[in-house]
């Protein structure tokens, strides 16, 4: 059924259709709407889940970790300071291979305190062992939730998934979203049946110590599971497309890349603006294209390198920065192109931090600068 709703509502309705047994989160702007919608559904008796209130994000993450270990499908959501308060537990969730799904509504990190959008929060936990998917539209916010549970709970993966959506731009932006029927979702997403769970009747120890003799192997197992997810993500996206009749998710999306000489690489809602800019530039005879990263962790090196094979100059637009180095996507992309033996020249640009608007003009400026100075972390729109 099509409805005119916020991205937050699209996430909440998708989560409800996946029927998690336990939901826990702590309110933080701009994530709050998602859990408010879910709390309403539970309170109104429309969703049979336990919605458990907690005193912090650290507790919310710990609670869903425990509930997941007890065999329940679980959901949490956070933003910014809340996400980094969770970070200790995020590493545990991944290390214990719990298929938790969490929505990160992307927001800048303090200080200075700033509640607006960039992607520094999810980028700060990119090494936690979570799969990270970035949505472009309100529709994709919901669609990625279904795919996230399928992926996380696949026996060969068993890795938590973070669905990232840009704060306000997606979370509070209203769009027409096609919300599927429960029967359709049930066909796509089977019930969660873990091979092992915490049960007083059959005691198990989850998360025991691993010393120098096995820690390395256990970390390798997690890495290998994430690399394996690179194969599964496109096949789940293809299944989704067959079931629901629209394309959502996958590793990457190429937009007018086939004959592109210049390309931008980016993730999230900014890709909508970039597509508009590319359409305008194409009319002026500039062969511009976009490579949209949907999956950022695991990083799809081979797909990225193949998609950019014929492109001469690549600009990476990061809405986050590893301070003192480069944008995180820039670093991964440059590495991928070296290994892929691509000849492209790659520049890195930092834009939109703390909610600074990225307009079609900003994108035009990046394409213009791409023909000039070589930079690895060039700030765009910096006031002199």
């Amino acid at each position: 059924m099509k409805d005119f709703i916020e991205g937050s509502d699209a996430v909440a309705r998708a989560v409800a259709l996946c029927r998690p047994g336990v939901i826990s989160a702590y309110p933080i702007t701009p994530q709050t709407h998602i859990v408010e919608f879910l709390a309403s559904m539970v309170a109104d008796g429309k969703l049979k889940s336990q919605f458990i209130n907690v005193e912090s994000e650290h507790s919310a993450a710990s609670l869903v970790l425990g509930a997941s270990a007890a065999g329940e499908r679980v959901f949490s959501a956070s933003s910014s300071q809340g996400l980094i308060l969770m970070s200790e537990v995020l590493f545990n969730i991944a290390g214990m291979r719990m298929p938790v799904v969490l929505a990160c509504v992307n927001r800048a990190l303090s200080a200075p305190i700033n509640i607006w959008n960039d992607q520094q929060d999810s980028m700060a936990v990119r090494d936690s062992g979570w799969i990270q998917l970035y949505a472009e539209t309100g529709q994709e916010c919901g669609d990625l939730i279904f795919q996230a549970y399928r992926l996380a709970e696949s026996p060969e993966v068993r890795v938590p998934v973070m669905v990232c959506l840009d704060g306000y731009l997606l979370s509070h932006g209203l769009e027409v979203v096609d919300v599927p029927e429960a029967a359709e979702v049930d066909k796509f997403l089977p019930p969660y049946r873990p091979a092992e769970k915490l049960d007083p009747a059959a005691p198990m120890t989850f998360g025991p110590l691993a010393g120098p003799d096995y820690y390395l192997e256990i970390r390798h197992d997690l890495h290998a599971a994430m690399r394996g997810a690179l194969k599964l993500i496109p096949s789940i996206a293809a299944d989704f497309s067959r079931q629901f009749g629209r394309n959502s998710g996958g590793l990457i999306e190429g937009y007018r890349l086939e004959d592109a000489e210049l390309a931008i690489v980016a993730a999230g809602s900014v890709c909508g603006t970039i597509k508009e800019a590319i359409d305008a530039l194409r009319q002026e005879g500039v062969k511009a294209g976009l490579l949209r990263l949907i999956t950022y962790r695991p990083f799809p090196e081979e797909a990225v390198s193949a998609a950019l094979a014929g492109v001469g100059r690549v600009a990476v637009l990061d809405k986050a920065i590893s301070l003192g180095a480069t944008g995180p996507i820039y670093a991964d992309l440059a590495t991928a192109l070296v290994h892929g033996k691509n000849q492209a020249r790659v520049n890195g640009y930092i834009a939109g931090l703390g909610g600074r608007d990225i307009t079609i003009e900003t994108i035009r400026e990046i394409f213009t600068r791409l023909s000039g100075e070589e930079v690895s972390a060039g700030f765009v729109g910096l006031k002199g």
């Binding site: 092992e196 198990m204 120890t205 025991p208 691993a210 256990i218």
Partner: protein, 89 residues
């Protein structure tokens, strides 16, 4: 390799920590014991058993030879003896 990161309860019993002993083990003399149970309570391995006077013993499969039982005994009825003297028991 794929390692099962979850484990069954009681698996620590598989670590036969008696092999950690370096050169001494406790010997329960069973002469002046008053059954105060301090040795049983202080043992970090929880392997000292016994109820009546002069009935206490340890499990050498797990005893690490830390010597706390001998140190805490108010009657000096537990002695740390070299590993290469006498048989265990």
């Amino acid at each position: 390799m794929s390692i099962n990161i979850n484990s069954r309860p009681g698996s620590a019993r598989n670590n036969r920590t008696g092999s950690w002993r370096v050169d001494r083990r406790p010997k329960f003399l069973r002469q002046n014991c008053i059954a105060c149970r301090l040795c049983l309570l202080i043992c970090p391995e929880g392997i000292i058993t016994g109820k009546a006077k002069n009935s206490f013993e340890t499990d050498y499969v797990y005893c690490k030879g830390c010597g706390l039982c001998a140190a805490v005994c108010p009657k000096k009825d537990i002695e740390m003896i070299p590993e290469d003297t006498e048989t265990e028991g």
